[in-house]
Every structure is written in structure tokens, then in C-alpha cells.
């Protein structure tokens, strides 16, 4: 359960919102406050006013796996293995457990062949996959993905989706510009000018967006 009360932070203004769904897609125009909402929910930013509770706790007390849109900004280590191993190492897990976790996380995302590669030689999409493996390596309770699929082809984006679905995370908050992807979520939040303009099932939300380019292309063709 995600509970947001009287949240006001930068342009985001959400008086009261309770979300009880696993796969939550956050959609809306550039600059509508999606990333700000995700940052507050991840604990990266403390809200200026109001509270966010995830699984009954403040975000900073929840194990969050965060993947940003620009993995270049968050990748810290020069070798893929070390990048994925960073969280278990920082948490003081044993070398053997770290190694097992790294290999399992890499296999789940499909980057086992890249473990010895230098991060600087990876393509943009491969970096996103490595960032996803690093975010998932220590069993996050909540996955937060900020337009990760922006730089991924359909096959790789599908791989990300399957990896996240298979995880044990209670919530997946996924900001995307792919409406065909958002259409498969359990719940959609459509943000505009900092407020949640519409929320509900894909059918409910997209019914209100039929006249806009946010309506999924596949739905438009099949109509």
C-alpha cells in the first residue's frame, strides 16, 4: 500500500492518494512532475510538505530498487560486476553471497555475458540493463523505474518488464512514455502540471485520454 497525504514538493501537489496495486504506471507529459513524484516515493528527496508512506513506513525505511532514465548518472564503478555487487558489498554481505546474488541478478536481466566488461564500453540500453540488475540484486521491496524503457528496444523493454514482474517487490512504480506498456499495468496515474489528473485501471484512464496522443497506438488501431 502506498499512501500519500498533503504532498507538496516542487510542482507536485497531491492532497490525498492511496494506491493498492502492484504494477503502477505513471504517465503524463514531460515536466508534469512524474520524476519528482518517483524521487519522493524512493526517498531520494524528502517532501517539503506532507507525507508518503510505503508499506506503512517512510520511503527511507523501505528497501527500494531505483533505476533512473540516465544510467550514466548513477553507474559508479568501471566494471559491470563491481557495479552490480555494490549494494550487497555496502550492506556487508559475504563475498560468496555477493557473488551468488550478482550472478543471479545478471542472469535474470540477461547480462551475464557482460559481467567482466567495462561499463564505458556498453551501449545505452546495456547500461540500463546493468542498472536494473544493480537495483534488483538485494531483493528490493519496491522497484521504481523512471522512463527506463526510453532507451530500450521492445525486446529489451520486455526483458526489463519480465525481470521486474518476477521480483518479489510488493510494488513496481514505473514511469513510461510507452502507452502500449502502460496499458498492461494494474493501475495508471496520469500526471499533468504536478497533479494526478486521472487515476484508475488502464480502461478507465485511457477512456479519458482518447482524444490525446497518450491513447495507446495499438488500442487506436484495434478500435
Amino acid at each position: 500500500m502506498i499512501r500519500i497525504t498533503n504532498l507538496r514538493h516542487r510542482l507536485v501537489d497531491i492532497p490525498d492518494l492511496t494506491i493498492d496495486a502492484r504494477h503502477i504506471a505513471v504517465i503524463g507529459p514531460n515536466g508534469s512532475g512524474k520524476t519528482t513524484l518517483l524521487e519522493v516515493c524512493s526517498g531520494i528527496e524528502e517532501p517539503r510538505f506532507g507525507t508518503v508512506r510505503i508499506l506503512g513506513r517512510p520511503p527511507s525505511a523501505v528497501r527500494i530498487g531505483w533505476v533512473g532514465e540516465f544510467p550514466d548518472r548513477t553507474l559508479l564503478f568501471s566494471r559491470v560486476y563491481d557495479e552490480i555487487a555494490s549494494t550487497p558489498r555496502f550492506r556487508g554481505r559475504s563475498c560468496q553471497e555477493t557473488d551468488e546474488r550478482v550472478r543471479a541478478a545478471a542472469a535474470l536481466v540477461g547480462v551475464s555475458h557482460l559481467l567482466d566488461a567495462k561499463v564505458s564500453t556498453l551501449s545505452g540500453g546495456e547500461k540500463a540493463l546493468v542498472a536494473l540488475a544493480a537495483a534488483g540484486v538485494d531483493d528490493p521491496e519496491v522497484f521504481i523505474l523512471d522512463e527506463v524503457d526510453s532507451h530500450l528496444d521492445a525486446g529489451t523493454a520486455g526483458r526489463v518488464q519480465r525481470a521486474v514482474q518476477k521480483s518479489r517487490a510488493a510494488h513496481v512504480l514505473w514511469c513510461t512514455q510507452s502507452m502500449d506498456t502502460a496499458a498492461r499495468a494494474d493501475l495508471i496515474l496520469f500526471m499533468e502540471d504536478g497533479v494526478v489528473r486521472h487515476h484508475g485501471t488502464p480502461d478507465e484512464v485511457f477512456a479519458k485520454l482518447e482524444e490525446t496522443c497518450f491513447y495507446p497506438p495499438l488500442w487506436r488501431i484495434r478500435r
Binding site: G28, P29, N30, G31, T35, E69, F70, D72, A117, T121, L122, S123, G124, G125, E126, A128, L129, E147, S150, H151, L152, D153, A154, G155, T156, Q177, S178, M179, D180, T212, C213, F214, P217, L218, R220, I221, R222
Partner: protein, 232 residues
């Protein structure tokens, strides 16, 4: 004006890229999965990387620009107005065009993800180079901004435009389609003939083809028109 790829070969570690064919004037779409070599091909065509053997030979091209996937790499100035001036363009005119009025004195890094991409893309298109290479021009953009970018691209009346993209929802009208797979570049030919050969076609296009529709181009509107034609 054209670029001839003459048995182009590039390799680095275990990855190698091969390509032959000609990029004539018009809009080309190079699609393919992540890591297939699209960005590497863009760097080779931009002459930032050198091939191991073969060549990408330019004919009649006197100016070229490459839009990088991550637009922050293009920033050279501390204000948006200075950034636009560094392209030799008038900030007032350009900022109106990209719908960023009143932002002239802001730091370019304070723009949202999509806004920065829009700004740099507009600067490049306004420079009107003979050869314009766009590496993932639609990533980070919302659907309205993607439609705006498509219109900007379609407005280029001459020169070679090469779009390297995996975009699956909003695409411009293109003249030719290419596919990259595991480092191998394949020319699918001119549109519309190339459409049925396109492995990485967006879902709406694949769906229409399966219904028996024959769209004239790859945009959603072309596909809707084609479906209307078969449904009467």
C-alpha cells in the same frame, strides 16, 4: 548527395559491425535492438570512429551534424540563450519555436529531460546540414514532443537525414528502412516496399500487416488510412 558504405568493417573487443549500401537524399530509419550497433554506425558515419577496413564515402556533402542520444553531452554554455547562440542562431526565434519562452537565462541543465532534447534537436535542424544523423531522437520525449520532432524532421526538404531509433509509437514519414542486428546492417529498401520486410516494425504496423492492410508509410496515420481502405 549520398553516402556509400563500401564493405564497412569496424570491430572492438568481441563486437564487430559490417555494412554495405547507399544512403541517398531523404529520410532513412535505422532500427534494431539495443547493442546491435546503431550508435556505433552513427559514430562511423559521423567520422568520429574510423573503420578497420572499407569506408563510408561521402559524395557532395559539405556539412554534417550528429545528435547524441544523451543531449547533455552537447551543452557547452551556462545559459540557454548562450547555448542557442553557440549554434549561430537567434535565441528569441528558437526559444519561441521550441516553446521555452522566458527560459533564456536559465542553466541548460535546469531544463527537464525532454525540453533539453527538444532544444538541441531544434538547433540542429535549424542549422540545416547536408547530413543530419539523429541517434534516438525520440527517447525522453512525450508523445506530443515526439510528434513535434517528427514534423521538424519532415520539414527538411533536402539533404540526408538518418534516424537511429527503436521508437515504436510515433514515427515520421521515411523514405527508406534499414535494420541492424548483431552488428550487421541490412538495407530493407524504399518505403512502402520495405515495410513488409521490417522485422522490428512497431506493434501497430505489424498488427495492420497481419490484417492485410498495406500502408503507404510507417506513421500511425498511414496505418489507420490503410486499415480504413481494406475495411471500406
Amino acid at each position: 548527395m549520398r553516402i556509400d558504405l563500401e564493405d564497412l568493417l569496424f570491430s572492438r573487443d568481441q563486437f564487430s559491425l559490417r555494412g554495405s549500401g547507399t544512403f541517398n537524399e531523404g529520410v532513412h530509419l535505422v532500427s534494431g535492438p539495443v547493442g546491435s550497433g546503431k550508435s556505433t554506425l552513427a559514430l562511423l558515419l559521423a567520422e568520429i570512429l574510423q573503420p578497420v577496413s572499407g569506408a563510408a564515402r561521402r559524395h557532395g556533402i559539405s556539412s554534417a551534424l550528429l545528435l547524441l542520444q544523451y543531449p547533455e553531452y552537447h551543452i557547452t554554455s551556462s545559459t540557454i540563450a548562450e547555448e542557442v547562440k553557440s549554434w549561430g542562431l537567434d535565441p528569441d526565434v528558437l526559444l519561441t519555436q521550441v516553446d521555452l519562452p522566458g527560459r533564456a537565462n536559465d542553466d541548460p541543465f535546469h531544463l527537464s529531460r525532454g525540453e533539453l532534447k527538444r532544444l538541441i534537436l531544434a538547433c540542429m535542424i535549424m542549422r540545416n546540414p547536408d547530413l543530419l544523423m539523429l541517434d534516438e531522437p525520440f527517447s525522453s520525449l512525450d508523445c506530443a514532443a515526439k510528434q513535434w520532432a517528427c514534423k521538424m524532421i519532415e520539414r527538411r526538404s533536402k539533404g540526408i537525414t538518418i534516424i537511429f531509433s527503436h521508437e515504436r509509437a510515433v514515427l515520421p514519414r521515411v523514405d527508406a528502412i534499414w535494420e541492424m542486428e548483431g552488428g550487421a546492417l541490412k538495407a530493407l529498401g524504399s518505403v512502402p516496399e520495405a515495410i513488409s520486410r521490417w522485422q522490428h516494425a512497431p506493434p501497430y504496423l505489424t498488427y495492420a500487416l497481419e490484417m492485410g492492410a498495406r500502408p503507404e508509410n510507417i506513421r500511425l496515420q498511414d496505418v489507420r488510412e490503410a486499415i480504413c481502405r481494406i475495411q471500406g
